[in-house]
Structure formats: C-alpha cells, structure tokens
Symmetry: C2
C-alpha cells in the first residue's frame, strides 16, 4: 500500500517525467522523487533523453548536491530501475549504494535488456512496493506506450486521426473540408502531435492541403516538442512548408505501410500520428497497421462528398472491420456545440 506522501510523490514523478522538453523516441521517459523517512521530498530527477542521466541517478545527484541524507530514504519511480550497464551504470545498484530503504515502482520494465532491477533491489534487502493505484498505474503505462509498443512489436504504435461527418464524409463534393469539426477538435490535433514522434500524411494530402504538420498552441506559437514530418507515397508532392522550429521533413518513397513504419522505427520513431487522407488511412487499416483510431465526429450530414475512409477491399458485411469504442468525449465549441471525439481500437478476435 502506498502512503499518501508516496502517492503524491508518484503523481509528481509522472509529471516531471512528461517534461515536454524531453524528446520522445527510443528511450523511455522516467521520473524519480526521493523522500526521507518522514515523507519529506529530498530531491527530484528525470531522464532527459539518450545519453543523459537516468531519472534515479539524476535525483541522487540532486540530493547529494543538497547534502540530503539518503539512508533509509524512499525512491518513488515511474519505471523499474534498470539492472544493466549501458551508457550509465545500473540504477538499482545506485539506489542500493545510496542507502535507500524502500522503492515504489509504478511500472515494471518490459525491456529484457534492462529488466531485473526489482530482483536486484529485493536481493539487497530493500522493500519494493509494486501495488500502485489504478489511475497512476494507467498514467505510467500511457507515458511510454510508444516505447513499450516498439519493444513488443518491433514497429511504432500507430494512432490514426480522422475527422468525419455523421454520414462518414471527410469533405464535401467540391473538396471543401475546412472546417468540418470545431476549434476544440483542431486544438486537440496539435496536442496529439506533441505527444507523437512523427506525423505521417500521404503525398495526396501534401499536394491538396499544404499542411504545416506543426504542433501549435491556440495563439499560433509552436509547442516545445515538434514531431518529425513524414510524407509517404510514390507520387510527386510539393515540399512541406519550411518553418523555423518545426520538425524535420522525411519523404518515405513507398506505398507500403510496413515499409514506411520500418523506416520510421529505424529512425527512432515509436509513436506515429497518421493524419490522412482517406487513401492512407485505408492502406494502414487494410495492412492491420492501425493500433488506435481517433475520430472527430461532427454531427452534420453532407449526403455526398469524399468518404473519410477509402476502399478497404470489403465487399460483404461479414468482412467488416470491427472496432471497439474505448472512449467518448465531448469536444464542444460555440459553433460546434455537440462535436464528439471517439477513441477506438481494432477488435482483436
């Protein structure tokens, strides 16, 4: 059971782990808070990306710099301390050597190379707490879901985002699509972009919409973390607009989702936001390469126009592509008071 101070410390560790200045990619985001035996915070630390100190080491360094007494301290960490020597030494050993007495761990390490920290801590006689309240455990899982997906599947996690009318249209007959959904939905897209390593569009969308694919705040300024901007397809498309501070542009000269994802994975991408259009969405759905679908649904009818999802090769109802709706949220704005966001996942048999 977590004590109240440990609960608060873990919430804080999750918060600092999610520091928007930290790049995403092939390293997990981790936070650590050190508490003295009375529950007072001694120091905080977090990982800042490849080649920098791990969260535990960062916190221990901060504690020592403040001459904080570490004997009998509790380390509250968002991820199991590592047991391997990479660019830095094993964090489990560092905690043991510092005299830490108890370690609260929100999530075990799915990385076979780094795992083993819990066993090592317990072997050294430390008290290890793994019973985490559900909300914090879920937040710890969500923090590195792209990274975890990569370890399990050797390809990035793919979130597809589509906006559609009640009758499944992404645009009217004349191609107009701005704006089908309200400002709340559009703002959310920018937040989604900051939480993904890469945004991916097809050459068709690049030609038609000249998207900037940046993550901006409502005032137009750029978020600190910008996604890689990938454009996929074999047809010609104009270059994406060059914007100071925007993510790198990466052309992917393939129509094969698996090839595109393999290239992105090699580049360190662990979470891709697929932003359309209908052809690209259909290609990824057909290839079984969509892990999560976010639908911004405008309660409006067009009666025609461009379908939001192109041909899936389905001719009869029995071959339908079933999804499970995992969340519904209102996305209200004054002009679009009843827009919805639906979050779905392809049903696994």
């Amino acid at each position: 059971m977590l004590q109240d101070v440990e609960h608060r410390a873990l919430a804080r560790a999750l918060e600092i782990a999610a520091d928007p200045a930290v790049p995403l990619g092939p390293n997990p985001r981790v936070g650590c808070v050190l508490l003295d035996p009375h529950g007072t915070v001694l120091a905080e630390g977090h990982h800042r990306g490849a080649g920098t100190a791990h969260a535990e080491a960062d916190a221990l360094t901060a504690a020592r710099a403040a001459s904080a007494p570490l004997a009998g301290a509790t380390a509250v960490v968002t991820l199991e301390p590592c047991a391997h020597t990479g660019r830095t030494g094993p964090c489990a050993d560092a905690l043991i050597e510092a005299g830490v007495g108890r370690v609260v761990i929100a999530r075990t390490d799915p990385n076979p190379v780094a795992a083993g920290g819990i066993a090592r801590l317990r072997a050294a006689g430390l008290d290890v707490e793994l019973a985490i309240p559900e909300d914090l455990a879920a937040a710890a899982a969500a923090l590195n879901r792209g990274w975890e997906h990569g370890l399990a599947h050797e390809r990035p996690l793919v979130t597809a985002k589509i906006a559609l009318s009640l009758d499944g249209r992404a645009a009217a007959a004349d191609g107009t699509s701005q704006w089908l959904t309200g400002a709340a939905a559009r703002e959310e897209v920018h937040l989604l972009r900051t939480t993904c390593d890469a945004v991916l569009v097809g050459t068709g969308t690049a030609r038609a919409d000249h998207p900037t694919l940046t993550a901006r705040r409502p005032d137009g300024t750029l978020h600190p973390r910008q996604p890689l901007r990938a454009v996929m397809g074999t047809s010609e498309a104009p270059p994406l607009p060059a914007i100071d501070g925007a993510g790198e542009v990466l052309p992917l000269r393939t129509r094969d989702p698996s090839v595109a994802l393999a290239t992105l994975f090699t580049r360190g991408v662990r979470h891709v936001l697929l932003e359309g259009g209908p052809t690209l969405a259909a290609a990824f759905l057909r290839a079984g390469c969509v892990d999560e679908l976010i639908v911004h649904l405008a309660p409006t009818l067009l009666g025609g126009g461009r379908p939001a999802v192109a041909d899936l090769g389905i001719t009869t109802l029995a071959d339908r592509l079933d999804l499970d709706l995992v969340d519904i949220a209102p996305m209200p704005t004054p002009s679009c008071p009843t827009d919805l966001r639906l979050t779905l996942r392809p049903r696994t048999a």
Copy 2:
C-alpha cells in the same frame, strides 16, 4: 410544491396514461389519480381513445362506483382538464361539481379548442398546482409529443431511424446489411414502432428487404399496439407481408414528403417513424421534414458500400446540414459490445 403523495400519484397517472392498449393518433393520452385529503388514492382513470371518457371523468366514475367521498379531494392529472364540450362535457366542470379542492396539472393544454380549464378551476376557487418536478414535466411532455407537434405544425412529428457504420455506410458493397448493428439496437426499433402511429418506408426498401414493419417482442410475439405500415413512392413494390394483428398497410403514391405527411395527418397519424432507406431519408432531410434523427452507430468500418444517407444536394461544406446531438446511449450486446445510439435534432439557426 407537490407533496410526496402527489408526486407518486402523478408518476402513476403518467404510467396509466401510457397504457399500451390505448391507440395513439389525434387524441392526447391522459391519466388522472384522485387523492383524498389525507393522500390516500380514491380512484384512477385514463383516456382510452376517441369517443371514450376523458381521464378525469373516468376517475370520477370509478370513485363514485366505490362510493368514495370526493369533497376536498385532489385530482392529479397529466394534462390540463378541458374546458370545452365535445363528445364529452368539460372535465374542469366535472371536477368542480364533484367537490374537488385541488388540482395538480403536469402540462397545460396547447389545444386552443380545449384550453381554459385552469382558468375555470381557479375561478371556481380550486387550488391549481402547476409547479411540477422537471422529470415528471418532461415525461408529461413526451407522452403526447406527436399530438402536440400536430397542433403546432399541422403535420406529424417525424423520427428518422438509420443504422450506420462509423464510415457512414448502411450496407456493404454487395448489399448485405443484416446485421450491421446488434440485437439491442434492433430490439429498440420494435419499441420505437409501438410508440409511433405509423412506420414509413420507401418502395425501394419494400422491394429489397420485404420488411414486416411490425412491432415485436424479442420472443417474436406482437406488441399490443401496432403502427400503420405506410409505403411511399411511385415505383412498384410487392405488398408488405400480411400478418395477423399487424397494422394496416397504406400505399402513398408520391415522392413528396409533404404530400405523404399531409395524407398521414389526415388519417390521424401524429408521429411517423421513418425507417429508410437512404433515398427516403435524404428526401425528408432535404424537405426539412425530419424532426428527430435516431442513429444506431456500429463502430465498424466498411470502406465502401451503400451510404446511409443519399444525395442531399449539398456540394460545399458551408451548406452542411447541421444537427445537435441531444443524447448518446450505449446499446451493448455480446457480439456488438460498443454499439451506440445517438439522438439528434436538426439545428434551428
């Protein structure tokens, strides 16, 4: 303020008013409960359709048959007692003459011919209570919404029901559509049919689906109240199946929604359930003849097939037909665990 016993009596009056054996159509459904000054129920009554006693008269008759003392009694009614002499005398007078001291009224009568009961009761010195809790007032409004719509608009209320996939398809490319949504949604359609005077389909649907258009229980037996079965269009269609106990079949040889609705209104229909297909739904939407849209949404993708709503004559996004989502409800079944029902109304500027 309603006393607790009056609150319970009103809930009961609403329940008996909704008696499924009572036909719908051009008469309101009304219930009445008589309470003695201590709050004990003296008698109940309800209206059973054109030519039968009004609810108040029905309750007074029952009270007299039981020799119940009516002096100082409270009458709890779902609709304002009438002040006019039609096939029966004014109910307001009957309550006054019976010695009733207080009348609780859930909804005022929007019918200019019959209204005036409240004034007459007050003029006779009776205490009239109109402050009704929101849930009961809403139930009283819902009870006769077709009838009220008819008084206000001189045409039936139209509820359109469509089933669609997440990408707006009603059927796959080969025409298969059974079953896009789960058993819960299909069962709800049967309940909807029993609450409407008429079910309306196009000749195309009649040809393609041979629908029975009956209101059935899950065990296949017929509900006590069956809707008129109207088939609209100028092309030939086979007759609907003859079924013992099913509603009358009415061919409407027109493609014009206003003409069809005028004919139905003349026949006493006050609430129409429009059950498709896409062409008929589009025709009614284009004509501004849909008051409520019920969407059974299956979280599935087809990527092609028959759109759930045909051409609306909309070519550019600015001409979109906006709706307001007024309700979302889950419609889960084991095979379709995350089906949804959305209730929408066309947005009125």
